[in-house]
């Protein structure tokens, strides 16, 4: 805690004002009490005697004034928060307090009554702060997925303790390298830079390399305060952590309206050796031990739909798959419960996902007849029971107004004069009306450059695709080259933000009939990918997300429009692209306004549970999705009594206490001195020494 810490000039101004006021009050004529006496001459005799010492009395009065000015000076000086000169021996410390998910695990004591690891670590941090020397400058950094300082560098014990109190556990992993980088930035150029890590030590081995980097490159002195070993007197049986490390949902490729769900579980008994990797593999020789019985429950919208008894082997992943789940927007929850063992971390005993709504897509093909195209669409799921509804129209009968009622329009060797109000696939667009500008024509090209990372080209191989001719496009703003030959784009993807929402389109620079692409497996897959991309369904976005990451969520407008069928889907399900914020309802009920960029809402996920996302101007229901920890390193809930730099590096030492127990903050002493002088003034006045 500090006082105002005012600059010198301001302090002088305050002193001048206050001192002037005191002096003025001192000079003011004192209002005396009137007392009648019968014979004032007797008093005069006494006063004449005391007049002999009047010079001393005047001096006493002057001393009294000086005393009051000194009191004012002390008070003003204390407002400046003066401190004793600091030596160069003081350290600059960054106190990293692990706030990752594993720090929510209970530590010691009977189940339910024990404190969390984070609380213990905070206690250790507080104890360490109290041992800091007067020259030690420190700041607290919360070490979670997004390490951030909890305040500014400070010498003040109370401020640092308040920073420690501000650390909250997150449902994310711990990004140790980022925290070390942050510490380097905070400590750059400061004397004796030191990092003190308060943690359970549950880090990936790879991230521990950052400690070596910190020491070698940053010159940081990294210290480690391990969690204490605490007995569990109330814990019966085995103790450890059972975790659902993955809960995934995916659509069947054939029928996009059905799903299957994967649940992956692991069991980490306590005294778990360090070094668990992200993918859940366990070092050789660590997989032994007896099986731990457990129960897995699957719930849909809160109703139990399946219960399974399973046996978990230590450090081995056990998977369960639920086939042919169907439904729209239904909430899936998996719960894992140990039988006859104590689970120290409840966070990962539950996992959540949402079966994403998949609307039917109405597709209009504008073609003179193309069996390759229609056959491929049939292969991707067209039909009454599936999600695609295909209609065909001849180019001559094409009507833009009619096209606006479809979700997707595929133009086969036909270029409309105006772009439709829907997603579109242009197969060999030609002429001046082509929405994709054509720069040139290439004969018998080969596709040498393929962007396999784009959702449209996932699982698609375009190697050795032959074509007799292809248009070379000139990419515009928002265009992404999917494939081409030596920097000549021949396959483009476009995203446009219009008033009607996000509109996507794909252009293929060659005629299918002049290529062997329709004969390949890649063609129906490409079509399926394109339709999924238009629908906003990317597999990685389905159902659930992982905490500790920045989520990029497409904003779908008016999901309630699905009742109108495919005709309204285009207008209904696209991002407005115009808003700057969206509403995100967190699992704990907090409503956040999250930023929107290019039709995607952005949010750094820190909590496990169900979320709801909606544009600010949209009516419910909102898009619903879930987030899970899905972090094996955190679920392992390891406690390392010692931490090494890398796998074979030296162990980190515990930190030393400060060199001086006495804080160098002076304002309490100044206030005490002012108080003592005030008391002295009061005492001397009432004893009539200074009057």
């Amino acid at each position: 805690m500090t006082l105002l810490g005012l600059p010198l000039l301001q302090l002088l101004s305050i002193f001048a004002a206050a001192g002037g006021a005191v002096t003025a009050l001192y000079l003011l004529k004192q209002q005396r009490r009137r007392v009648e006496v019968p014979f004032v001459q007797l008093w005069q005799r006494v006063l004449q005697r005391s007049d002999a010492t009047s010079w001393w009395r005047r001096l006493l009065r002057l001393l009294s004034l000086l005393l009051q000015l000194v009191i004012v000076a002390l008070l003003v000086a204390s407002m400046g928060d003066p401190r004793l000169g600091r030596s160069q021996s003081g350290r600059t410390l960054v106190l990293l307090i692990d706030a990752s998910a594993s720090m929510q695990a209970r530590l010691g004591g009977a189940a339910g009554a024990a404190t969390s690891r984070l609380q213990v670590a905070q206690g250790q941090a507080r104890e360490f702060i109290r041992s800091l020397g007067g020259d030690d400058l420190a700041v607290v950094v919360a070490l979670d997925g997004q390490p951030a300082p909890m305040g500014g560098l400070s010498y003040d014990e109370r401020e640092l303790l308040a920073q420690v109190e501000g650390v909250r556990a997150r449902d994310t992993g711990a990004d140790l390298p980022s925290a070390i980088e942050l510490a380097r930035a905070l400590l750059a150029g400061r004397p004796r830079p030191t990092v003190v890590l308060f943690s359970d030590g549950g880090f990936e081995d790879a991230s521990l390399q950052a400690l070596t980097t910190a020491r070698v490159e940053g010159g940081l002195d990294v210290r480690y305060v391990p969690l204490p070993q605490v007995a569990r007197p109330g814990a019966a049986g085995r103790v450890g952590n059972a975790a659902i490390t993955a809960l995934a949902v995916r659509r069947y490729r054939r029928n996009r309206l059905s799903y299957e769900v994967l649940v992956r579980m692991m069991w980490f008994p306590e005294a778990q050796p360090s070094g668990v990797t992200r993918d859940g593999t366990v070092p050789t020789g660590q997989a032994g031990g007896t099986a731990q019985p457990a129960t897995l429950e699957l719930l849909q919208d809160g109703e139990v739909v399946d219960v399974q008894a399973i046996e978990l082997m230590p450090n081995q992943a056990v998977e369960r798959i639920y086939n042919n789940l169907s439904g729209a927007g239904r909430n899936i929850e998996a719960r894992l419960r140990l039988n006859g063992a104590t689970d120290v971390l409840g966070l990962d005993d539950r996992a959540f996902t949402v079966l994403p709504e998949r609307r039917r897509q109405r597709v209009l093909i504008v073609t003179r007849g193309n069996l390759f195209l229609e056959g491929a669409l049939l292969a991707t799921g067209a039909g009454e029971e599936n999600h695609l509804t295909i209609e065909r129209v001849a180019p001559a009968a094409y009507d833009a107004a009619r096209a606006a009622r479809y979700d997707v329009v595929i133009f086969d060797a036909f270029t409309p004069s105006t772009a439709p109000g829907a997603h579109a696939i242009y197969l060999d667009p030609q002429g001046a009306d082509s929405p994709f500008a054509i720069a040139a024509t290439a004969k018998s090209p080969l596709l040498t450059d393929v962007d396999g990372t784009h959702p449209v080209l996932r699982w698609v191989s375009l190697a050795d695709v032959n074509m007799s001719r292809a248009s070379v496009f000139r990419p515009g703003p928002g265009d992404r080259v999917l494939a081409g030959m030596f920097k000549q784009p021949m396959l483009l993807a476009r995203e446009e933000h219009t008033a009607g929402g996000l509109r996507r389109s794909v252009a293929v620079g060659f005629d299918l009939r002049q290529s062997d692409l329709p004969l390949r497996v890649a063609f129906p897959v490409l079509l399926m990918n394109a339709l999924d991309w238009f629908a906003g369904d990317v597999d990685e976005d389905l159902g659930s997300r992982r905490t500790g990451q920045t989520w990029r969520m497409p904003l779908l407008r008016g999901s309630g429009d699905k009742a109108t069928g495919g005709a309204g889907a285009r207008a209904a399900g696209r991002s407005p692209g115009l808003g700057t914020t969206a509403n995100l309802l967190l699992p704990d009920g907090e409503l956040l306004a999250v930023p929107v960029s290019e039709g995607y809402a952005l949010h750094y996920g820190q909590r496990v549970g169900f979320y709801e996302l909606s544009p600010p101007d949209a009516a419910p229901p909102a898009q619903r999705f879930a987030a899970n920890l899905s972090d094996v390193t955190e679920s392992a809930a390891t406690i390392r009594p010692a931490l090494r730099e890398g796998a074979m590096g030296p162990s980190l030492r515990p930190p030393e206490a400060g060199e001086q127990a006495l804080r160098r903050t002076l304002w309490p002493y100044l206030l005490l001195a002012a108080l003592a002088l005030l008391w002295l003034e009061w005492w001397t006045y009432h004893r009539r020494y200074t009057v």
Binding site: V37, L42, W43, Q44, V46
Partner: protein, 316 residues
């Protein structure tokens, strides 16, 4: 003893209870000090008495009836026989009613002799009680008692009279007193001696706070053959003041102001100065054969009167 009118009103606090106190004092005085006090006094005057006193030379015009013919026969000298003439003792009670005697009087219409909010009586009230007691004793002894109130001069006078029944006039006179004016002992006593033909005992009741001094006034009484006696009225509030802090002291009589910051040491110095002042007055009286008594208002006036009677000679 003269009959006392039990139904008489109690003017300004001099009520029946007060009168009973005086009667009690008189009885005690008669029992304890019998013979030491006589109302009858022989004056040095010669006159129509029956007891021979002296001879003197005959001068033409003398009454021939008083010629001592026996002496003329033996010594052939005309001498006139002188007889001692018995006359009443005159007691003059001079009571200071200047403003300084107001100390302790709330001035809210209450009688002077009524105690104030702090339970103490005003100096003038105390002096009035003492004056009433002296008057009663004198009247009881068939002396003639006159009262004079003074400050910068004689402000009021109760002519001399005798007999107990006169005590109510004394009460009326004393009850009507109000403190006012500035003390001027010399002027007041000068006026008194020049207006009073009959000599007698002059008891001065005052605090003697006179900026011009009390010596000349008291000497005037002596020079004019009065037998002065002094009762100095002292209030503890002025002899040992409990004042502290920053004060504006105002003289009750002159209005003179003095700003002081009183400390314990200064109050102690003042108490010493006041004591010295009283001792100086006492020394002055002793050196000149003037009876002196210091009357502390803390002491009940009955106790003071017993002391007066015990010392007897105070009134000679």
């Amino acid at each position: 003893m003269a009959p006392v009118d039990e139904t008489a009103p109690a003017p300004d606090g001099f009520d029946q209870a007060f009168l009973k106190k005086l009667e009690y004092l008189h009885i005690v005085a008669k029992k304890v000090f019998a013979g030491r006090l006589r109302a009858e006094r022989r004056s040095r005057k010669t006159g129509a008495g029956i007891e021979f006193a002296d001879h003197r030379q005959y001068t033409p015009g003398d009454d021939l009836r008083y010629l001592d013919w026996a002496v003329y026969g033996r010594m052939d000298r005309l001498l006139l026989r002188l007889f001692e003439e018995e006359e009443d003792l005159y007691i003059y009670i001079l009571i200071d009613s200047s403003t300084s005697m107001r100390l302790g009087w709330p001035g809210d219409g209450r009688p002077l002799i009524a105690p104030g909010p702090d339970g103490r009586m005003a100096k003038l009230g105390y002096a009035a009680q003492v004056a009433a007691a002296l008057s009663y004793v004198g009247l009881s002894n068939l002396d003639r008692v006159a009262l004079h109130a003074f400050s910068d001069g004689i402000r009021d006078t109760l002519q001399s009279g005798r007999g107990k029944g006169r005590i109510f006039k004394v009460f009326d006179f004393l009850g009507a007193l109000r403190p006012d004016g500035q003390t001027d002992l010399r002027a007041s006593l000068s006026e008194f001696v020049h207006k009073t033909r009959r000599r007698g005992v002059a008891v001065v009741l005052s605090d003697f706070y006179d900026a011009a001094g009390y010596e000349e006034g008291l000497n005037l009484l002596r020079y004019h053959r009065f037998e002065p006696a002094v009762i100095q009225i002292v209030d503890p509030r002025e002899s040992r003041p409990q004042l502290r802090g920053d004060l504006d002291l105002v003289d009750m009589e002159t209005g003179e102001r003095r700003q002081v910051t009183l400390t314990d040491a200064m109050c102690e110095a003042y108490a010493r100065a006041h004591s010295e002042y009283c001792q100086a007055l006492e020394a002055f009286c002793d050196s000149r054969g003037i009876g002196y008594l210091r009357a502390d208002t803390n002491v009940p006036f009955e106790d003071l009167m017993l002391r007066v009677l015990r010392e007897g000679g105070f009134l000679r």
